[in-house]
């Protein structure tokens, strides 16, 4: 007697489960979606495909408003900033003995302007300390501006905070040499344009 009843109970359970499975699946999917929405709502963020592009546009405008016009033109046309050293009180006393190239989200590269010799790479980041795990990065131009502000405000401190490596650790030395050649050509052409403008005037 118990065996047929037990078998019938199992069959009923399986039948009920099979009938209810599509509804259960839909309910679970809705619950997952609701949890995901609640999490996004809680953090005040939702997916916005244009957010990074707008952030970068704002970052470029901010960078432009902070640096010299010549530096902005270098960044706009060549994709990096150049800071002549030493920065601060001794700036402008004769030719710069060294300089830095600032790339977005890459180490700062120190080099000798007179010879083009690469000196060091200084790896520095600006992590979001409020979200130490999985935080987003600064927009490219904000990363460049943060490095520029930190190095022009307190060169020693930034270099002290950075991890120093020999050239070639993260930035391809050939790329840097090409960039220095592009920079040299850009400066020559700019000077020629300015001289041409003066002659024409």
């Amino acid at each position: 007697m118990a065996l047929p009843l037990g078998t019938a109970a199992v069959l009923l359970f399986v039948l009920f489960f099979e009938l209810a499975r599509p509804r259960l699946r839909r309910t679970l999917a809705r619950a997952r979606l609701a949890i995901a929405r609640a999490r996004r709502g809680h953090s005040g963020e939702s997916y916005d495909p244009g957010r990074e592009r707008r952030a970068e546009q704002r970052a470029r405008a901010l960078l432009r408003s902070c640096v010299d016009e010549e530096d902005w033109e270098i960044y706009n046309e060549l994709g990096f900033l150049r800071v002549l050293g030493p920065v601060g009180a001794h700036a402008g006393e004769g030719p710069a003995p060294y300089a830095y190239l600032i790339y977005p989200h890459k180490p700062i590269v120190a080099y000798v302007p007179a010879s083009g010799e690469l000196l060091n790479e200084y790896c520095v980041t600006f992590p979001d300390h409020t979200r130490p795990f999985g935080s987003s990065r600064l927009p490219h131009s904000d990363d460049v501006l943060a490095k520029w502000m930190a190095i022009t405000a307190d060169e020693r401190r930034l270099i002290g905070e950075a991890n120093m490596h020999l050239p070639g650790r993260q930035v391809d030395p050939e790329r840097v040499r090409r960039d220095l050649a592009r920079l040299s050509r850009w400066e020559r052409e700019r000077t020629e344009r300015e001289l041409g403008g003066v002659r024409a005037a």
């Binding site: 901010l62 920065v87 180490p107 979200r131 935080s135 987003s136 904000d142 943060a146 502000m149 930034l158």
Partner: protein
Amino acid sequence: MKPGHGEIVLAEGDVDVPEEERELIEAFRRELDAGMWAAVPTEGLAGRREAELVKSFDEVPRDAERVIFFPRAAGGAAPAGR
């Protein structure tokens, strides 16, 4: 500057208006307490633009147009890839 977002205006006001100055000071302290660095874009002795790091509101020049907060620098993880 906020990672993933870029520039966000935190507070605006006139330092000559006491109430607005108080709000600016509160915003300044909040950001520094959150571990941010504060910088004021200035013009250096050589006539080139540079930045000045400030650690308290008193260090901000009275005529400064803005203070930019950005995450504190740290040594990078330095993966060997290019």
